[in-house]
Amino acid sequence: MIQVNELVKTFDDYKRGPVAAVNGVSFECRPGEIFGLLGPNGAGKTTTLRILSTVLKPTSGSALIAGHDVVKNPQQVRENIGFMSNATAIYDRLTAWEIVEFFGRLNGMKKVPLKARMEEIFDWLQMNSFREVLGAKLSTGMKQKVSIARTIVHDPPVLIFDEPTSGLDVLVARVLLEKIRELKNLGKTIILSTHSMHEVMRLCQRVAIIHRGELQAIGTIDELLTTHHQPDLEELFFHLVDQADARAAEAEATQPCSN
């Protein structure tokens, strides 16, 4: 459902020259699966996912979502995904109901089916108490629910969550993760990026650990623990991050004069 192949994204930086935010990332994600993208801040998770959502174009490499290429058919890709991240805020001056309705309309949904779908979603996420409240007046948890509703209103086969729980309190985060699990059970293809190992253990079938723009390891959690001889995910994570940092420091030491 999602096939990512040797994705590279470089940005020009006047101070440091070209910087590779993502460097040769490949993975695959299947329906009915939650695929975890685990990495520290600045690892390249958001850039990777932004390429999948078509708002960034890869420098090289390719990505297919539901059979559509993100570069050649961005339109079809956007029709088939639901994307939620910290950067995708909701409108302050629209009510919860209006926001979700708006995105339903953008996805070309007709009035009657849209209304039915929205009633269903508002029941499922228990959002009926703040239907008519303006976005600006919603609490963080309510906003997050509106965001999920917005993401799934057109019932896309692929869902991408970029650090959905960051900045949420435990209660709200728990509800949110529960809903993501329910979505998986509906057969959706889901990517979840996070820096929380706890979330990965609870939700993900397979996981990729990403650091310095590169994939450090990929597989089921059990597989990874066995191959790298680590007792738990946390140890594994630090082990891989340390390894990557050491390699990078070594590479820098051999070419000190490069800009």
């Binding site: 006047y14 932004r50 995708t88 995105f103 953008l106 070309g108």
Partner: protein, 739 residues
């Protein structure tokens, strides 16, 4: 762009944006509350201010007033007023000028003390009467009257004017007395009496007043109404994080831009309309108040009644013309707002927009600026002139210019929106991180990381450098080289090399890995293009000369400039003339415009767009560094040269064509002057080089054949650039060339 638009999606986004705008207290305030409250407030302040200013008294000190003649009297009985019968407007005005009499030994008589007292505004005017005034007048001679005042002080100036007026009337009475004494009628000093009849009706003169005010109000208000919502809907959404949410929806970029444009346009229209309405109502109220208060038949009421409210159909015209003005300004605001990454950055763009919009609007007030083919091409100026002409009721003059004005405006609007869409498609504009910008590391980065091709920004930089060099360095060159009779050939050659050629060459050297290839200094992909460069100008010259004639008819060059251009080549050997106006400019201008500028714009645009942009810049450069009449054929030439450069993949065919084209002007002129008989075979008028009809037709046919043949030549654009051009790049059609 419009093929890709689904009305349903645009409507959905438009509805949302409008809801957003309507729920924003600030926009509602700017759109509705502000105009409704502001103008009545201004009205009140104006009325009150007018009253306080009117009641202010001025003080005139008269030294030695006893020496004034007793009959006719300058002063009223009591001596502290001027005689009321001497005031032209109303006898009551006498109460506004206090008169103090001073003795010859008072401080007022001493010059230094008097000056100080006047500067301290103790009095506004001092009149000094000599002892012998009455005697001189009685003797039939002219007596002296001396005024002292401070013209740097507004009150002093106004008092001086008033008193002079009073004294003029007094002098007339004195004169009448003399005439009576000599038994001559008062007509003796007035051999001619003029009668003036103004055929303008009250309606017409008030239409003129409105036609001057309304364009300003419309531009100012539609700009205000468009600017803030545009910033809010683009930069604001980026800042609030909702832009990315919108971008990952299936809405297309063109749909988003269209919907935002319609929202901005709506706000702009409503704001302008509300302001106009409020101004009209306030103005009507003010006028009726003032005319009822001044209903003594004084001159004040005459002035007031000359401005009446515009009639219903005029209001309709205003609202209709508001649409193109608001659409143009909305599209510009939107494009700038997309560029801004934050509301703060967006605010910075307001001043430049005003700075450009206002001179364009102000031009409509300059006497002699009327609807013409040139002005109709200027954004805002064209629409405002059309509006002005319509308001003045000159429908017959306005109608022929409807399309010439509205089509360019439509084109500019479309171009600005296109630019907005392109920006939406470019990720750097939407995800520009706030990076620390310092000039040094930027320059170092650009020089170190030399690019394969220049960017559009760098092309623009080259153009700006040329303009700056033209402004600052060209006069220096002229000064150093020294000029004889205006322009010398050495100055022209040096200016071409340093101002036009050098900036692009240096930029290419500094910023690109392979400067020679970027500038196109390689051989063309097909040698036949070089021959084409030689033949094409010969064949096209008759057709192009029609453009020259049209320009000369509609926008004749001012005589001094014409002389300057003509003087350049007089007495210059023909070979030197060819070097000066053909070979050097041919090479330098090609290097700059078909080399650097075109290459830069090609990196981000389709070849057709890049050619058009570089040609317009080429035309603009001629306007700024030469004469605006050259805009049209420079732009046309730029298009043909651009096509040649793109298709041949080399600068040289263009250089050959440019040189041939410029040299033709010199050579044909010389030929026609030296042997008019042989030149008569080609020209029906050998003085101004007007071709025979049959030559024109032949040239057009030949040009058509040649262009058909050209399009069959292998194009560098198809072979070399197919790899790096985007999928939607289209080869240039013959349509552009056929112009």
């Amino acid at each position: 762009m419009f093929k890709l638009i689904r009305p349903g999606v645009v409507a959905a986004i438009y509805r949302r944006e409008l809801l957003d705008v309507l729920r924003d207290r600030r926009t509602i305030f700017m759109m509705i509350i502000f105009p409704v409250v502001l103008y009545p407030l201004i009205g009140y302040v104006l009325v009150n201010l007018a009253m306080t200013i009117q009641e202010k008294k001025r003080l005139v000190v008269i030294i030695n007033a006893e020496a004034l003649p007793k009959e006719p009297a300058l002063l009223a009985p009591g001596g502290n007023r001027f005689a009321p019968n001497l005031f032209t407007r109303s006898p009551q005005d006498a109460n506004l000028l206090d008169v103090n009499q001073a003795m010859k030994d008072s401080p007022w008589a001493d010059q230094s003390q008097r000056d100080r007292l006047l500067r301290d505004r103790i009095a506004d005017l001092v009149v000094i009467v000599p002892d012998d005034l009455t005697a001189q007048i009685a003797a039939g001679k002219a007596g002296n009257l001396e005024y002292v005042y401070n013209s740097a002080d507004d009150q002093g100036q106004m008092t001086f004017n008033k008193v002079q007026n009073v004294v003029d009337n007094w002098k007339q009475l004195l004169l009448n007395k003399r005439l009576l004494a000599d038994a001559k009628s008062t007509e003796y000093t007035q051999p001619v009496k003029e009668q003036v009849r103004d055929i303008a009706t009250r309606k017409e003169s008030s239409a003129i007043v409105w036609s001057r005010i309304v364009p300003f109000i419309l531009v100012l208000m539609s700009l205000t109404g468009a600017f803030y919502p545009a910033i809010d809907l683009c930069a604001g959404e980026k800042e609030r994080g909702t832009m990315e949410t919108l971008l990952i929806s299936p809405a297309r970029r063109a749909e988003i831009v269209s919907a935002k444009f319609f929202t901005v346009l709506t706000s702009s229209l409503v704001t302008a309309a509300m302001n106009l309405l409020s101004i009209t109502i306030t103005g009507w109220k003010l006028l009726s108040d003032l005319s009822s208060s001044a209903s003594g038949g004084g001159p004040n009421s005459a002035l007031m009644s000359s401005i009446s409210l515009p009639s219903g159909w005029i209001m309709l015209i205003v609202f209709l013309m508001l649409v193109p003005i608001a659409a143009f300004l909305s599209s510009i605001c939107l494009a700038l707002a997309v560029m801004a990454k934050s509301m703060k950055e967006g605010q910075y763009y307001l001043t430049p927009v005003f700075m450009i919009a206002f001179p364009l609007t102000y031009m409509t007030l300059v006497p002699g600026v009327e609807l013409s083919p040139v002005y109709s091409l200027l954004p805002l100026t064209g629409t405002c002139l059309l509006l002005k002409t319509l308001l003045a009721g000159r429908l017959d003059q306005a109608l022929p210019y409807m399309l010439p004005v509205l089509l360019p405006t439509l084109a500019y609007t479309w171009m600005a929106l296109r630019w907005a869409v392109v920006q939406f498609e470019s990720e750097s504009v939407l995800f520009r991180e706030a990076e620390r910008f310092d000039l040094k590391s930027w320059v170092v980065w650009n020089i170190r990381n030399k690019a394969e091709k220049p960017s559009a920004d760098q092309a623009t930089l080259g153009f700006v450098l040329m303009l700056l060099a033209g402004w600052f360095i060209a006069p220096l060159i002229a000064q150093i080289v020294g000029t004889v009779d205006g322009v010398s050939t050495v100055t022209v050659i040096l200016t071409q090399i340093i101002v036009i050629g050098l900036p692009s060459f240096i930029l290419a050297l500094l910023l690109c890995r392979n400067p020679l290839k970027v500038l196109g200094l390689n051989s063309p992909n097909d040698k036949r293009y070089l021959w084409l460069g030689l033949i094409l100008p010969l064949v096209l010259h008759p057709s192009v000369s029609i453009v020259y004639q049209l320009v000369e008819t509609y926008m004749p060059m001012a005589e001094p400039i014409k002389k300057l251009f003509g003087g350049l080549l007089v007495d210059t050997p023909i070979l030197l003339s060819v070097v000066t106006v053909a070979i050097v400019p041919g090479f330098c201008e090609e290097l700059a415009f078909r080399g650097w500028v075109l290459a830069g714009f090609r990196s981000a645009n389709r070849p057709t767009t890049a050619i058009l942009i570089s040609s317009v810049l080429f035309g603009v450069m001629h306007v700024l560094l030469s004469a605006y009449q050259q805009f049209f054929h420079a732009t046309l030439l730029g298009i043909v040269l651009g096509i040649l450069a793109v298709r041949s993949g080399s600068l040289w065919p263009g250089v050959v064509m440019h040189i041939t084209n410029n040299a033709l002007t010199v050579l044909l002129g010389a030929w026609a002057a030296n042997s008019p008989t042989s030149a008569g075979l080609l020209f029906s008028d050998t003085k101004s080089l007007v071709y025979h009809r049959f030559v024109l037709v032949l040239s057009a046919v030949l040009a058509f054949v040649l262009i058909r043949w050209t399009l069959k030549l292998p194009s560098a654009e198809n072979s070399a650039n197919s790899a790096d051009q985007s999928a939607d790049s289209r080869p240039i059609s013959g349509g552009v060339l056929a112009q």
